[in-house]
């Protein structure tokens, strides 16, 4: 038979579980944009803050745009623009790189579907 104490514990438990899920798995709280430069310096930027970053590499400056939780290469001094053609990275785990200018871009977060992307 369920008693009043049981109901109180279950209500408390439901709140605690809900809070834990939110605190741990909410991707908007954990998603960030990681940029790695030629010297292997990695720097993380919040994915929720819209901004345009100018990152220096051996060929010159590469511009990276963060907008609405997504990120992309906007401009780059490389010849073939493969990095720009990669378009928007929208899901955690996605990555793109400008190899000639030695700059990589990756979306990190709690909702990554894959540990790596094979291509």
């Amino acid at each position: 038979m369920i008693r009043a104490g049981d109901i109180l514990i279950i209500i408390f438990g439901a709140f605690a579980v809900g809070f834990s899920w939110f605190a741990i798995f909410n991707p908007s709280e954990t998603a960030s944009v990681q940029i790695v430069q030629a010297d292997a310096t990695a720097k993380n930027y919040p994915a929720w803050r819209d901004e345009i970053l100018n990152i220096s590499g051996p060929l010159g400056e590469t511009r990276i745009e963060i907008h609405d939780g997504k990120a992309r290469f906007l401009a780059s001094p490389c010849a073939n623009k493969v990095c720009i053609r990669a378009g928007w990275l929208a899901h955690a785990g996605e990555a793109a790189a400008c190899l000639p200018n030695r700059i990589s871009l990756a979306l990190l977060g709690g909702d990554a579907r894959f540990d790596a992307v094979n291509f």
Partner: protein, 339 residues
């Protein structure tokens, strides 16, 4: 009361069961971005990651076929007809490559460097210039250099053809990934992933689950399939979208067929699984180049798990690959082919 408290405790433990993150290191090596994740805390992982990075950088110096690489210097001497002494690590790599060349019936050809140069794919950034002429390609085809033209004489190696130029681009990355995994194992690491620009090898598992690898859809944005594996296993893909250029409205990619001298056109992307990353690397190239004949080459190279996206028609997978595949954004039309 006790039963209710137990239920709440179980729910809380479930909610808090977040996957472990592991310790990660990214750096540029082998002409690409290398990303290593080790499922261990930083105090255990850091030394292993540092040593793995050093091993890969050393590999790059040794196997670079152009500019100042150790292999580039050897190539120069071989082209001039000089006998050369190969360091044991290079000699053993060449022996392994020779065996793979034989098994692939010459479709994996590490002596293809001069043809790669003709097409301009040896440069990190290809200059905007036309493809080579048919006549230039024919000169290379007439010589048809292969690793069989590198012969041992009195403890030294000599090249029988001046057109022979070693370019281990379809093999050295696999060797390097194997070496990095061995370094991690020596540090007692049992669960890790070494990802060199999209080609990778995994060890063990990601916490309680298998590693999840997304395979890029070669025909559009997004992921074609997820491959779930526990290691040791390597996942290598060759795709026509990796390096290419357009000239007068025609597209040319970097996966050259040593039989024709031109890019192989029957396949768009091809993925293989194998424990040995060097074999997986060479096989991904050879099976891509083989086109519709890939099952024959898969058999002779001992590759069981294959997924091929042909230029036309449904995706092809082997029964061994089917066991690891989950279709992702859309399920494509596919057929199962036994090699």
């Amino acid at each position: 009361m006790k039963r209710a408290a137990a239920v709440v405790l179980i729910l809380l433990l479930t909610a808090c069961a977040r996957e472990p993150d592991g310790t990660r290191r990214q750096f540029f090596a082998l002409g690409t971005l290398v990303d290593i994740t080790v499922m261990a805390p930083p105090e255990k992982a850091d030394a292993a990651l540092r040593d793995a990075e050093q091993a890969l950088l050393e590999f790059e110096r040794r196997w670079r076929a152009w500019n100042e690489g150790q292999l580039a210097v050897l190539n120069g001497q071989l082209t001039e007809g000089q006998p050369v002494i190969l360091a044991e690590n290079i000699a053993s790599g060449i022996r392994q490559a020779r065996q793979l060349e034989r098994e692939s019936r010459g479709l994996f050809n590490p002596a293809i460097g001069k043809l790669v140069e003709l097409w301009g794919f040896h440069q990190e950034e290809r200059k905007a210039e036309p493809p080579p002429s048919d006549a230039d390609i024919q000169v290379w085809l007439d010589a048809a250099p292969s690793l069989n033209d590198l012969v041992a004489e009195n403890g030294k190696f000599v090249s029988r053809k001046p057109q022979l130029w070693l370019d281990m681009g379809a093999f050295a990355k696999g060797l390097a990934v194997n070496a990095a995994i061995e370094v991690l194992k020596k540090h007692g690491i049992t669960d890790a992933i070494v990802n060199a620009g999209g080609d990778l090898k995994v060890l063990g598992t990601h916490g309680e689950r298998r590693w999840r690898i997304g395979v890029r859809d070669p025909r559009g944005p997004g992921i074609l399939a997820a491959i779930e594996v526990s290691g040791p296993v390597s996942v290598f893909t060759s795709g026509d979208y990796e390096r290419w250029f357009e000239w007068e409205g025609r597209r040319y990619h970097h996966l050259l067929d040593p039989r024709s001298g031109y890019p192989a056109m029957q396949t768009t992307s091809l993925t293989v699984l194998h424990e040995d990353a060097a074999r997986a690397d060479a096989a991904a190239t050879a099976l891509f180049v083989a086109g519709d004949d890939w099952p024959l080459i898969a058999r002779s190279m001992g590759i069981e798990a294959v997924m091929r996206v042909p230029a036309e028609g449904p995706v092809e997978i082997t029964p061994a690959m089917q066991a690891y595949i989950n279709w992702e954004d859309r399920q494509p039309e596919y057929r199962v082919i036994k090699p």
